[in-house]
């Protein structure tokens, strides 16, 4: 059993998805999906433990030895990501039943869980696999189910958002496919480990250069990195709230993972950061993303839109850390992936609770909610403080590491810019706080009730995680640092 953990990680949600169709009642399907996702989480915990103790796990699919067969290769980096994805998925699913009752028509609820589990499968697969083509297949599994999930949104804008995402996402995935094809053409292998050894021999060719460019642009489309982010805000804002919470916390992290995996493991640090001016390019795009997205967030009237733009800004921080190509920089990026999943998970789940009570998340309707839904609003405030990077929250930890990484390189102007960027987050979080706490409720005669427990428990699990990992950073920092070091160790 233990030996088969890497494949179990992917196969549990994959098998669970079609089984969902056998149930007639959506409550049962919910329970079943929750169990499947929970099992995946347990597997990821075991995997992380095993990897931290005994190093890389290589699993041969069907007993075919790599590089001919498909290999699942779990190192510290993917074990960390698997934990984030399956953990968030489980917590978010906990609130799903109540939330979709209000947002999805009754005959589509079972399909919601099927799609959700397929999307989870895709994400876990992308992270677990050590085969470049396998990445493409799982990418499409997760994307196709994501398009359908977003289209389940109540408003008609959801359809349009989903269509736009489909076009952009498919172009991105096809770019990655072209890149993989070019790599195969030069090396005759698809195994990532094998690729990393064979690519240096042909590294000077234009084909490899083109492969690199295609892969990077494709991944950046999926990543919603500025200026390729146009699909993201509407897709997040009009999707069902549970879907938003799940994707905001995990989907972009998977794309960041792919970026790291391809640049560090497959192409190698020395190639990735010398042939293209990747460092300057990503640094400036990251910073532009932080500023433009944060400023746009300030002017939004829908709270879901505010935090969707804030997600793009947060991706900017990850990109800045990544662009430094130092151990500390990469540690900051990995930490921020973990931390951002915790904060955005908490915030979007709290928004799901608000939509459950109010029917929408327009800023003006939040008036007086601070007193009427104290626990939910408090979660948004703590999540917001974490976004800003206030000490004792996780946001502070990752910002701290990012600033340390920048100071290490003597990039003082960037340090200042990052701090100013964080101040922009104060403004959009404050707008929400002001409306919710300092304005009278809209209708005093019909007070809004606090969200039900099925929301409060998962929301506060994430909020407490936000604070816990902000104070006791041993687990997150240790794993992120080890993962970053192993990435550099592999390439030196």
């Amino acid at each position: 059993m233990i030996a088969h953990l890497p494949i179990l990680q992917v196969i549990i949600p994959l098998m669970a998805a079609p089984i969902c169709l056998l149930f007639k009642r959506s409550q049962l399907v919910w329970l079943f999906s929750l169990i499947a996702s929970g099992l995946a989480f347990i597997v990821s915990v075991l995997l992380l433990q095993q990897v931290m103790q005994s190093g890389v796990i290589s699993y041969e699919l069907g007993g075919w030895a790599p590089p001919w067969g498909i290999e699942y290769r779990i190192d510290k980096l993917n074990a960390f990501l698997l934990l984030i994805i399956s953990g968030i998925s489980t917590v978010v699913l906990f609130a799903a039943q109540a939330s979709i009752e209000k947002e999805i028509v009754i005959n589509k609820r079972i399909y919601f869980y099927v799609l959700y589990l397929l999307s989870l499968t895709g994400m876990l697969g992308i992270v677990a696999t050590g085969d470049a083509f396998n990445v493409f297949v799982f990418l499409e599994i997760s994307s196709l189910s994501a398009y359908a999930l977003i289209a389940l949104g109540k408003k008609r804008q959801a359809l349009w958002a989903s269509y736009q995402y489909l076009i952009m996402g498919t172009i991105g995935a096809t770019f990655i496919l072209i890149g993989i094809g070019l790599m195969y053409q030069m090396t005759g292998t698809l195994n990532m480990q094998d690729l990393s050894q064979r690519l240096p021999e042909v590294v000077h060719t234009r084909t490899v250069f083109a492969a690199f460019a295609f892969v990077i642009v494709g991944v950046c489309l999926k990543l919603a990195m500025f200026p390729l982010h146009f699909w993201l805000p509407n897709a997040y804002a009009y999707a069902p709230s549970i879907v938003t919470a799940f994707f905001a916390a995990t989907a972009t992290k998977v794309a960041v993972y792919l970026l790291i995996r391809f640049t560090f493991t497959v192409f190698g640090v020395s190639f990735s950061f010398t042939t293209l001016p990747l460092q300057t390019l990503f640094m400036s795009l990251g910073l532009l993303g932080i500023f433009i997205a944060s400023v746009t967030a300030i002017y939004q009237n829908n709270v879901k839109h505010i935090f969707a733009f804030s997600s793009i800004a947060q991706i900017g921080y990850m990109i800045v850390g990544f662009s430094l190509s130092t151990v500390t920089g990469l540690t900051a990026t990995l930490l921020h992936m973990f931390n951002h999943a915790l904060m955005k998970g908490a915030i979007f789940l709290a928004l799901a609770a608000i939509i459950y009570r109010l029917g929408n998340a327009d800023l003006k309707n939040l008036q007086g909610l601070g007193r009427q839904m104290p626990l939910t609003m408090a979660a948004i405030v703590i999540g917001g403080l974490s976004l800003i990077g206030v000490p004792l929250t996780v946001g502070f930890v990752s910002k701290w590491y990012l600033l340390m990484a920048l100071i290490e390189q003597d990039l003082w102007p960037i340090v200042v810019l990052i701090l100013i960027g964080s101040m922009l987050a104060v403004i959009y979080v404050w707008r929400i706080v002001e409306v919710a706490y300092f304005k009278e409720p809209l209708d005093k005669n019909a007070p809004v009730k606090e969200a039900p427990l099925s929301f409060i428990i998962p929301i506060w699990t994430l909020v407490i995680a936000n604070i816990y990992f902000g104070i006791d950073t041993r687990l997150s920092v240790q794993v992120a640092e080890a993962a970053a070091q192993s990435l550099f160790g592999a390439s030196l």
Partner: protein, 126 residues
Amino acid sequence: MLFDLFNHWVVITLMMSGLYIVIAHGNLIKKIIGLSVFQTSVFIFYISMAKVDGGTAPILAENITQYSNPLPHVLILTAIVVGIATTALGLSLVVRIKEEYGSIEEDDIQQQDNQDLADSHLENKA
């Protein structure tokens, strides 16, 4: 020289025309068709990459010595399935969009969305 890379010219032509259709056309169905053409170019790229001149199918038999690389061919079977799924999903989205917006022109839909947004802003002020 140019003729040697005939396959690649086909691939590039299809790829660029596909992308151009996706970007330039406002009709949602045409966009999906462009996307399909774009994806097809990649299929041809993989297939021609693996083809060996004079090679046959990779079968274990006495008089077969030269054969094409089967792996990219198999890979592209998967990619074709993915392509079909994407096209099907895209087209069904277009059907739903037509039902909801009464149009499949990008400009119309965008305009209606902007109108909706402006209406809700007015409500905000009221």
